[in-house]
Symmetry: C2
Subunit: 217 residues, 2 copies
DNA sequence: AATATTTTTTAGACCTCCCTAAAAAATGTA
DNA sequence: TACATTTTTTAGGGAGGTCTAAAAAATATT
């Protein structure tokens, strides 16, 4: 049996190792989990005994395929629940994260298969992130940060990186949803800010924002 | 903050005090919670400090109105989720209990209000039990055990007492759902068994079963 | 290379919830 | 009423998860 806390650690380890490639450090994990390094050391010992990760003292953590499988099943549940909340219960996309953090830990294979079916087997969640299938497989989306595009280039929004509620509310306001076309009208090299056009309207967005909008060519 | 375990204790205390009227004993609670009397003593101390119950040594436990409110909100969630599982995800009524036991602990007022709306503000769950509103109010159903009816009497099934999966599967098989008419054709005083007719078909049912079928005149 | 700084681990402790064993109170019986 | 039985509580301890403080290892600086 795996505990709720262990699932959350595993999810963080999975996400951190995707991002950084290198093995995950104790400190990174402590920050991600909002806890102290000492607590992390305790937990990673347990997770490595259970063979969800491999762990070498003073070096860091690597996720095993067993661990990856479990992390992906939690991520699958999280994204299906988010989709449910937005599509069926009319939540806005900035409201779903917190609740999905709880729902992702419900243990019932049948429930999640039925939910998937009920939602029409969606491939991405409301933020544009891919939903793994029951085997943990999903298409790696061809995506890059809007902030890395040259002036004049046009692209389609596919996802939003951060799930911060403030950011999502803002993107909602300017109409920057997955699926929408976005054009880089102007780009300021000094501070990385840019002027973009969405739905024929123009907006100035900061570097921070432009790096959180993921687009495809 | 209230823990998952505390919520479960409170729910049990609520149900036991409904059933027995008297104050709830440590042993009853231990049996209901599948734990030991000593553990119960620990927990009821905590719950009484938090003023969800009053507790007198060697006497027993009484639920406070604060405690009742919380128990009812958990019960509301449980029954709404059961309704969701049956109505939207095509679960059968014998499959829902276990999953609803987990879902009932999800903390989000908004979620449960939206879910209620999505389901069309149902008044009873799939087993015929009333769903409390957000203030904990619900109509106390006029109901009695089928087993207490005289030979020849006709009534309508309103609910099923036990949520045991075996029982529910059996009731499913004979078509004994809430809403259905049922007639006591014959009644055997020796062992309390009876012959009943549902949908024009006749079945022999044991005393145990007849006491778990709740009907209204 | 020696020293200073940062990161990580160990040690010891606390809280929650559970347990077993034994003591205390309540209840039943002769 | 005195004794036996049952119920409940206390005492002490264990597993999961957290923390702070201090030690150990790794890394950076001079």
């Amino acid at each position: 049996m795996i505990s709720l806390t262990e699932e959350n650690y595993l999810k963080s380890i999975y996400h951190l190792s995707k991002a950084g490639m290198e093995s995950v450090t104790t400190n990174d994990l402590a920050e991600a989990m909002n806890t102290k390094a000492a607590s992390v050391t305790d937990m990673i010992k347990k997770l490595s005994i259970k063979e969800f990760i491999t762990y070498e003292k003073y070096y860091g953590v690597n996720i095993t395929s067993k661990g990856k499988g479990l992390a992906l099943s939690v991520i699958r549940k999280h994204r299906l629940w988010e989709t449910f909340l937005v599509k069926k219960l009319d939540f806005t996309w900035d409201e779903v994260h917190e609740v999905a953090e709880q729902l992702e830990h419900i243990q019932s294979v049948r429930l999640i298969e039925k939910l998937d079916e009920f939602l029409g087997f969606p491939k991405v969640d409301p933020h544009g992130d891919p939903i793994p299938d029951s085997n943990g497989k999903f298409k790696v989306p061809q995506q890059m940060a809007l902030g890395s595009l040259k002036q004049g280039s046009e692209s389609i929004i596919v996802a939003v990186k951060d799930s911060d509620s403030q950011l999502l509310k803002y993107l909602d306001k300017i109409g920057a949803h997955p699926g929408k076309k976005i054009k880089v009208v102007d780009r300021e090299e000094y501070d990385g800010s840019m002027e973009v056009s969405i739905n024929g309207q123009r907006f100035f967005i900061s570097k921070e924002v432009s790096e959180n909008i993921l687009v495809t060519a």
